[in-house]
């Protein structure tokens, strides 16, 4: 592990990107006040999650009694949520969607970044603005128009409807453009002298130097897709193809009125995959978003 991370650092340094190792010593003083402060923050921030975990074990009657000890409903709730309501199916659909969207966004953004940084062409500024401004064009405000178009394509109830409209990313293009622009120029020159095509340059040089940025983008996109709600509600009516957030919504009314236990259990289960993705990609994320300030 240590060796690998040192290699990565070496590659980064070779690429001219000097990253500050996390946890540098520029804070002085005792660490116990920090521990106290962090504990306090954690207690406040994790309280909703902890209470959710408690409620997940309780029947509605126990919830309304505000019992502060674990209840008796956990097994029932798991059965309801996992077996009756097919939560696993929804989570699988969301996972497929998230992986496809993330992969597509990464590839498209890499290509766009390559074009923006290593080519000169007329109207580049306009094209870049054209891409960047979509950062401020959320699907939500034009969801009905998008619905009409996507159902015109015949993609209703299909994975394509959940993936293709989100396959391009202004965030990604922006990120890779910054990242590539920060790499030393002689990389491209050397590779041109070697006679490499832009694609060879991308795959041999740029991508190996961009794993951090790719990992960072993956985390954001995974969570973004995982939390998607309004769009799948409209475009997916076949429950077999439905995604997790909409599935969670359906759990509100297992009984007449809100049933808290199963809903909380499902919410906690549903928060596991994004958390895992984050933990797995934490290192690259931390370094990948080190947008440099001007020196």
């Amino acid at each position: 592990m240590a060796v690998r991370s040192r290699t990565r650092e070496a590659v980064n340094n070779a690429g001219g990107l000097s990253l500050n190792v996390e946890g540098t010593g520029w804070f002085r003083g005792h660490s116990w006040p920090v521990h106290v402060a962090l504990w306090l923050a954690m207690m406040v921030i994790l309280f909703p999650m902890a209470y959710a975990a408690l409620v997940a074990t309780q029947t509605n009657a126990e919830v309304f009694r505000f019992q502060l000890t674990p209840g008796t409903g956990l097994a029932d709730h798991f059965d309801q949520v996992w077996n009756d309501r097919n939560l696993g199916r929804y989570m699988w659909n969301s996972t497929v969607q998230a992986v496809l969207v993330t992969a597509a966004k990464t590839v498209l953004s890499l290509l766009a970044g390559l074009a923006f940084v290593y080519f000169k062409f007329r109207g580049k500024w306009i094209v870049f603005f054209f891409v960047l401004i979509t950062l401020m064009m959320p699907t939500e405000v034009m969801i009905l128009a998008l619905f009409r178009f996507v159902s015109f394509l015949g993609w209703k109830d299909s994975m394509a409807a959940l993936v293709v409209p989100f396959a391009a990313s202004a965030t990604g293009a922006f990120l890779f453009r910054q990242h590539f622009a920060n790499l030393p120029r002689d990389l491209a020159e050397a590779s041109q002298i070697d006679g490499a095509s832009p694609f060879q340059f991308l795959f041999r040089i740029l991508i190996p130097l961009s794993w951090n940025a790719i990992g960072a983008l993956a985390v954001i996109q995974f969570v973004f897709v995982w939390n998607m709600y309004l769009w799948p509600v409209l475009i997916i009516s076949d429950q077999q193809e439905q995604v997790i957030q909409v599935g969670l919504q359906g759990l509100q009314g297992i009984d007449t009125g809100l049933t808290f236990g199963p809903l909380m259990l499902a919410a906690l289960l549903a928060s596991i995959p994004p958390t895992l993705v984050f933990i797995a990609l934490q290192k690259p994320f931390m370094s990948g978003f080190a947008l440099g300030a001007d020196k």
Binding site: A61, F64, Q80, D84, L100, A103, A104, V107, F147, R148, S151, F152, L153, G154, K156, M159, A160, V163, V164, A167, V233, L234, S237, D238, Q239, Q249, G250, Q252, G253, I254, D255, T256, G257, L258
Partner: protein, 490 residues
């Protein structure tokens, strides 16, 4: 791979779109829209004819799918529907009824409209009463109605695929509301009314033996209840701020909501939100809140919150939908208090005319093949056959929808065993046969109800003047109705 495929598709579309816009020279935008519609409906026709030939040539093979969209996602009601569908599929192996649930009436309504636009609606759709006018008016891109009248589709048949037709047996309250131009366009299903639920333990403690029947009695009862040393913590009474309660109150006082006999002798073109009676009702409501007796949960259409307050015994009385009679009665048993259901309190100063129904009906898609249509009709009649209708009533508290179901329940002695369950039917039977007590038929009803609940909320929360606020709500609602009629009117 998938991505590349998708991209190729988009590229193909790009080419198609370019080709399309070449045809339409002038009005680029409108023409573009038309192209969309035609293409979509052509696709649809192709798909449909494909289905049909499948059904004809290999009738014994794959079962014809009947899709049914409903607005219930709770275990009990969704489970009931799924079970009946399974029963039907077993009886008729040539059909496969598939139930898809949505979490509210509004969602299913929106989804259905989108599916209709998309040219691919399900065979059976569950619409609430407020969507009736809009469902009647809905047309597809070619101007054909989206739904087919159930009366017309059944014709004079007395049974379909062996299932006896029960449409003619539907109880009068539902028939009265849903009959338009002499026919039932949709098959009545879950039908309820507004009833009151009282926590008799608290009422008795305050020396009240019967639930209050009028506004004045409610006030008196509340005074007694709130004077108790252990008065309920939140207040005396609550009900959701939903347009339906306002409409019920108008019905009780014999006031029409819209012109043309509440929209029943012709298309409604004028709305009367600020009639003196309506203002009286909201003033009474607001006074009850100001005196600390009525509890406003702070959220519009808050069925969950008001019900939870009653179940937690934080209020003594709840005006609610009879749809939850069974659950609320049981909640009393679970939490150790007696629940008694009674008629919705009325204004003692005005002669009582009648309460209305609420709930929803099942609509049949237009343009189905004969096989599909017969299957859907057979299922609709099976779904409300006496046994099923009675079971549905017992499960929920929606009224038994046919007379034979009522007879069956009486025979079983159900009403003696569970007197609360009879209240909604009795209340509806007591209503006069007048437009006011039948309920309004009006377009854009959802938006109009929104205007009403927003105005009432303003009165409850911000204490604005009732008459002034309702006058501005009136203007707003009239605008909504005018807009609707501009698009759908003759």
């Amino acid at each position: 791979m998938k991505r590349i495929l998708a991209l190729l598709l988009v590229l193909a579309m790009l080419a198609a779109a370019c080709g399309g816009s070449d045809d339409s020279a002038d009005n680029a935008t409108d023409a573009g829209d038309d192209t969309t519609d035609t293409t979509a409906s052509t696709d649809d026709t192709a798909a449909d004819s494909g289905d049909e030939s499948d059904g004809d040539s290999e009738a014994a093979g794959d079962a014809a799918t009947i899709e049914m969209w409903i607005a219930f996602s709770d275990d009990a009601r969704l489970g009931f529907t799924r079970d009946r569908a399974a029963d039907f599929n077993e009886l008729h192996p040539e059909y496969n009824v598939v139930v898809t649930e949505f979490d509210s009436y509004n969602t299913v309504f929106e989804q259905a409209q989108l599916a209709i636009e998309d040219g691919n609606p399900p065979e059976i759709i569950h619409f609430f009463e407020a969507a009736t006018q809009e469902a009647l008016d809905a047309v597809d891109g070619d101007g054909n109605p989206i739904f087919k009248s159930v009366t017309e589709a059944i014709g004079d048949r007395t049974e379909i695929l062996g299932e006896p037709v029960v449409l003619g047996d539907v109880v009068s309250a539902a028939t009265k509301y849903y009959t338009i131009d002499g026919q039932l366009y949709s098959m009545p299903w879950n039908t309820s009314s507004t009833t009151m639920f009282s926590n008799m333990d608290i009422l008795n403690e305050a020396g009240i033996t019967e639930p209050p029947a009028t506004w004045a009695e409610v006030e008196a009862a509340c005074e007694a209840i709130m004077a108790l040393p252990d008065a309920p913590s939140e207040g005396c009474i609550t009900w959701p701020n939903h347009g339906w309660f306002y409409e019920q109150s108008l019905g009780q006082m014999g006031v029409d909501l819209v012109n043309n006999d509440n929209g029943r002798s012709g298309r409604a073109t004028e709305i009367f939100l600020d009639s003196p009676e309506a203002i009286d009702y909201i003033q009474w409501w607001s006074d009850l809140e100001n005196s600390g007796n009525y509890v406003y949960t702070g959220v519009q259409r808050d069925w969950d919150g008001t019900s939870a307050a009653f179940q937690a015994q934080n209020v003594a009385m709840l005006i609610y939908s009879s749809s939850d009679t069974t659950a609320l009665t049981q909640a009393g048993v679970d939490n150790g208090f007696e629940v008694k259901s009674s008629f919705m309190p009325y204004n003692q100063d005005i002669a009582y005319e009648g309460n209305l129904i609420g709930g929803a009906t099942l609509w049949l898609a237009n343009g189905l093949s004969e096989t599909e249509e017969d299957g859907a009709l057979a299922f609709l009649n099976f779904f409300s056959n006496p046994e099923n209708a009675a079971a549905w009533h017992q499960l929920t508290g929606y009224i038994p929808i046919t007379n034979s179901a009522v007879a069956l329940l009486e025979e079983e002695g159900w009403y003696n065993e569970s007197p609360n369950s009879a209240v909604a039917s009795d209340q509806l039977d007591a209503a006069a046969d007048t437009p006011a007590a039948t309920g309004a038929l009006v377009g854009n009803f959802v938006a109009i109800r929104d205007v009403v609940t927003a105005a009432i909320e303003d009165v409850l929360v911000n204490d604005v003047d009732v008459a002034e606020r309702m006058a501005s709500a009136q203007a707003e609602a009239q605008q909504q109705l005018d807009d609707y009629n501009e698009l759908f009117g003759e």
